[in-house]
């Protein structure tokens, strides 16, 4: 994940790539913590479960996602 050297690239470019990869990794981690990848995970689950019906679109999924929280609140601690 962290900066594998690409063929033909100079060391400086590789370092730059490493920084970019590191930053992307961190952004992806933060996104995971905040639940930004919920739709991707839903699609993965849908594909694996193979229910034979088309998955919700991104817009439909997020609508459903927050609407379900209306009747399913999550505690936040102090």
């Amino acid at each position: 994940m962290f900066g594998s050297k690409r063929p033909g690239s100079t060391d400086a470019a590789a370092d730059m790539n490493a920084v970019i990869d590191g930053f992307r990794g961190f952004a992806r981690y933060l996104g995971g913590v905040m639940g930004a990848d919920a739709y991707t995970k839903y699609l993965e689950h849908h594909a694996a479960a193979g229910q034979g019906i088309p998955p919700l679109t991104e817009r439909e999924f997020w609508r459903d996602h927050t609407d379900r929280q209306d009747s399913n609140p999550q505690s936040r601690c102090c």
Binding site: G35, H45, A48, P73, S75, R76, C77, C78
Partner: protein
Amino acid sequence: MGIMPHSTQSNLQVDDGIVPDPALPPTGIDPGVADAEDRTWTPAKIALWAAIALLGGVAWFMLAIVRGETVNAIWFVFASVCTYLIGYRFYSKVIERYLTKPNDRRATPAEYKADGKDYVRTDRNVLFGHHFAAIAGAGPLVGPIIAAQMGYLPGTIWIIIGVVLAGAVQDYLVLFFSMRRGGRSLGQMAREELGVIGGTAALVATLLIMVIIVAILALVVVNALGESPWGVFSVGMTIPIALFMGVYLRYLRPGKVMEVSLIGFVLLMAAIIGGGAVAGTEWGAAVFHLDKVTIAWGLIIYGFIAAVLPVWLLLAPRDYLSTFMKIGVIAMLAVAVIVVRPEVTVPAFSEFASRDNGPVLSGSLFPFLFVTIACGALSGFHALIASGTTPKLLEKERQTRFIGYGGMLMESFVAIMALVAAISIDRGLYFAMNAPAALTGGTVETAAQWVNSLGLAGVNITPDFLAETARNVGEQSIVSRTGGAPTLAVGLAHIMQQFIGGTAMMAFWYHFAIMFEALFILTAVDAGTRVARFMLQDSIGNFVPKFKEHSWRPGAWLCTAIMVAAWGAVLLMGVTDPLGGINTLFPLFGIANQLLAAIALSVCMAIAAKRGSFKYLWIVALPLTFAAVVTITASFYKIFSPVPAVGYFANNAAFAKALADGKTSFGTAKTQLAMEAVVRNTMIQGWLSVIFVVLSIIVIITAVLATVKAFRNATRGVPNPNHEDPAVASRIFAPAGVIPTPAERELMAEWEKLPADVRFEKAGQH
């Protein structure tokens, strides 16, 4: 279900009634191999742990024994981190081996109930962050600061030792037991394990405790924003920012959570900077200069609207913002403390450690220090999170130790950092900020005079110093800014300005700190109101079934109104309290939180007993006994103490007598109206203490009875009822901790070799 007798595969050798798919590699590390890995001590490993132990020992020595004129903050970091590492590596493994006994061959709810929405397998490191963001808020930033009155050492010891032996144990056990029950809530588990009486008492106690916790968190915000135009403006701006984010996510770009959080963050920074400019103008200072009662009413009205609005509009976007800030702020706080390494001049034990009439918190060190610091050492509220979302996201059973125990250690570290930030400011300033206006008189002159008259070693402040500090942080006054949040903000500004920006940036850092504390608290207030409303609806629904329909508007609105009215009343009581508010109510917050912990630990003890782990039941009994003794003693002091500053009813009697004698002012209450308020408030607070302690004692007794019954059954060979979901064979593997062990790596490689169509897809990222 049986075991395949002919199989030689290592993961089929355990007789746990699970039949794994023979086409798959083992779904868990062979217990024998894991054991051998734990018990093999290579020289490098020995050297590492010896170094950790040595460093921790030296740090504790510096804090507890040497305690020179000043102590460097870095020793707090070393003492805490080394103790956490040892607790995590050794004590939590004892709990794992003898009490929880996780079995990775068994599927977690996220696997056998997978629905792509609520039950979703989540990478352990991501889930760690997620769980941490849900448990940590403003609590660990407030309690340690108030307790700093007694000196740094009592609080430090309790935060660090308490978390290892109590707080983290509770979080871990609740998470594990809830996971085994498909993610059932604490209330449901209490009902199943303790029966109707214990379960009902637990439910009512939880509901009341949530009201108190929300009210006192709201009080912290009100105290931080009162008479602060800058704070009111920038915190107020979070509402339109959140609304914008909500609309953006719903209609403009659904699902772009990171994008909208970044936009929200930039707007938030703009609101903080803009707040300074607005507060600097005449009209801005006039419009946003609000007294505490007005802010409290604003918060109550806001609380009701926020709880009935759809989640997508306000709650969800603000939650994103809050999580985003939480991770950033806590990392920033830790980095700043480590880089700046401030010198601490507060003594290990202050003059107030051995007295029960401290100006910031009244009552003796035992038990009141232990209830003042709840979050960070032992927080019952976590049991609601650990039996909520997190167990539905776990990938493997053995990860509960990392997420549950490790997550709580992280919160404890936040509490230590907050303590360091607060005690790095001048001691005189600390008392001027945290004592109620009734003592300081409210002006810089009277405050300086009062602080100097306390006769504290090395404390001598001038009115100019107080005025200058207020100017530096962009406030009109910092005298009697009680509640902990402003003190932390000054401490953070003091540390951060040495790191970035110098004195010119102090006002920004101060309001940045106020902003994130307010953000955390408002999120907790909204979510707490909503959760409490549903609990109330379900409870009333047992008698009037219509209330169980969550979409039934009149029911939802009525229950929301009841909950908001309940915490709003306590909040107003705190704001208008002539005795100072936070110092009379904060003990109630801690007591409530720890009583909830006692309830959670009681449920865990009953479950552990039914699983037959009698020999190691002390692991649960120890923190349970401690929490019970501390909270029940504290409650008894609050109920029966003849000292008016400590006992609610003693205070009530004193003021009632003064009124009857026809006095027009008594103690810190300067009018008859104020005296009547004290009589009313102390009566309510007293009865709340009585109700809490009675309910908790009922729960603890029912848990002890359940434990005894489980023991009798076990000795007679009668099987104890097991409320776990039936075991299902797992079809995946993932490591248990941050860094995979060699055996785990070997197994991961085996899984990698599996053709993609046979393998379950990976959870999130690895």
